[in-house]
Subunit: 249 residues, 2 copies
């Protein structure tokens, strides 16, 4: 891994590019590069397309606050975990949906599914979903990540359950479970797990019915310890432990 790179800034440009291609960067991203970071003509900057590619771009011109650049180099360099974690979390009160998504993006999740559980109180509208995408892009940049998690439209718990089959392993953090994550993962290690669904409940917790249904459909309940964690904390802790168990930390 190129450690130097971690100390460089990286910008988001959501397209696949080729060497020699001319690009225009506009609006906020251009402002950030030119005004905040004070880059000049002749400087080289790094872009990521959020799909695993990093581009080295030369700033050729600045026209009407837009940056015109040329792609000098491209690399496929995903720093993302070797497993894909999809976080299915209830929308949370206050800024906590933003916090859980921002931290999960830093840690390198592949997808975020807002789920309406029985005890979910917060609903997400289009504007809020757009804001979540912005937060996620900002987080991707601070963490020098190269793959932007897909943010799905909210679904019900029933829809989530009906989709369990698309994952190699379904994990659900449950305060009344005594099962260690390590036990579940060790039991499943031979199954070549690549694609994990992690379920984190709302502030009011899962209902017993939800737990029963999830278990019947194959979810593995696990503990995050004796203490009561807030939902957003539970999400961050659970992702950390999964990455650790799969040797990504």
């Amino acid at each position: 891994m190129n450690r130097d790179f971690l100390s460089c800034e990286i910008y988001y440009y959501p397209k696949k590019l080729e060497i020699g291609e001319k690009i225009i960067i506009k609006n906020e991203e251009a402002k950030h590069i030119l005004k905040v970071m004070r880059h000049k003509i002749g400087d080289k900057i790094k872009l990521t397309n959020g799909l695993g590619y990093e581009y080295e771009v030369l700033i050729k011109k600045i026209e009407k606050k837009n940056l015109i650049g040329e792609v000098l180099n491209k690399k496929f360099l995903p720093r993302e975990p070797t497993i894909k974690i999809t976080l299915a979390s209830s929308p949370l009160k206050g800024e906590n949906t933003e916090i859980i998504l921002a931290k999960a993006t830093e840690l390198g999740i592949g997808g975020f599914i807002p789920v309406y559980f029985q005890n979910t109180v917060v609903k997400l509208n289009e504007n809020k979903l757009k804001r979540l995408k912005k937060i996620s892009i900002a987080s991707l940049k601070t963490s020098a990540g190269t793959i932007l998690p897909e943010i799905y439209k909210p679904i019900t718990f029933e829809e989530l359950v009906n989709n369990f089959f698309s994952y190699d392993l379904v994990l659900l953090a449950y305060e009344n479970s005594d099962t260690k994550l390590a036990n579940i993962i060790n039991k499943n290690k031979k199954n070549n797990i690549k694609n994990i669904l992690l379920i984190i409940g709302p502030e009011g917790g899962f209902t017993l019915k939800e737990i029963k249904i999830a278990e019947e459909k194959g979810a593995n309940l696990f503990t995050l310890g004796k203490r009561r964690l807030r939902s957003e904390t539970a999400g961050i802790v659970a992702i950390s432990l999964i990455l650790y168990e799969f040797n990504n930390i």
Copy 2:
């Protein structure tokens, strides 16, 4: 462990109490119990003194917005980890000092030392320290914790280093380390570790000089993975992994 308790609220009363003792709860805490949670005379509530004790208290009277109660029962019931983690972290920008402390309290740290590193930009004054204590108490309550982490006055990095000897193990999360936390902990497992110092750097990172000094004085550098984590995220992830390695999660 009594799981029922996790679904109850718990209040903070910073004194050691005996069964039969009469107590008065005033101000914000009384308001929270009586107005927000709508408790009435005859209700039983739970208090923690932040030193491991939980008390069952009967509400006997309400006088001028104060709650007068009687201690019915006491239990020594620390839900805190079996290891003591002291988090030594740079004060962070914006609300991030509050976030790292709140989440670390939820997870059950024993102490919080704000440290001024070379690259620390934020300084903590008395007011800010008071606010941190409030945040920590609020977090203790949500997590049904019973031991309030001690919040120390800010010290310099040099003072921190001179204090390494008071810990069984000193861990430092460093982005250029390749050492797995598991390796350090396995190597030290026979040393009966109870008391861990965890060092998390400022936004700008540690200086090479700080890293050199810390290593010379016995700090164990470890990795949090390939991605660049924000300081507050690094703190939460590191505490999660330490608790996990010591079977507290």
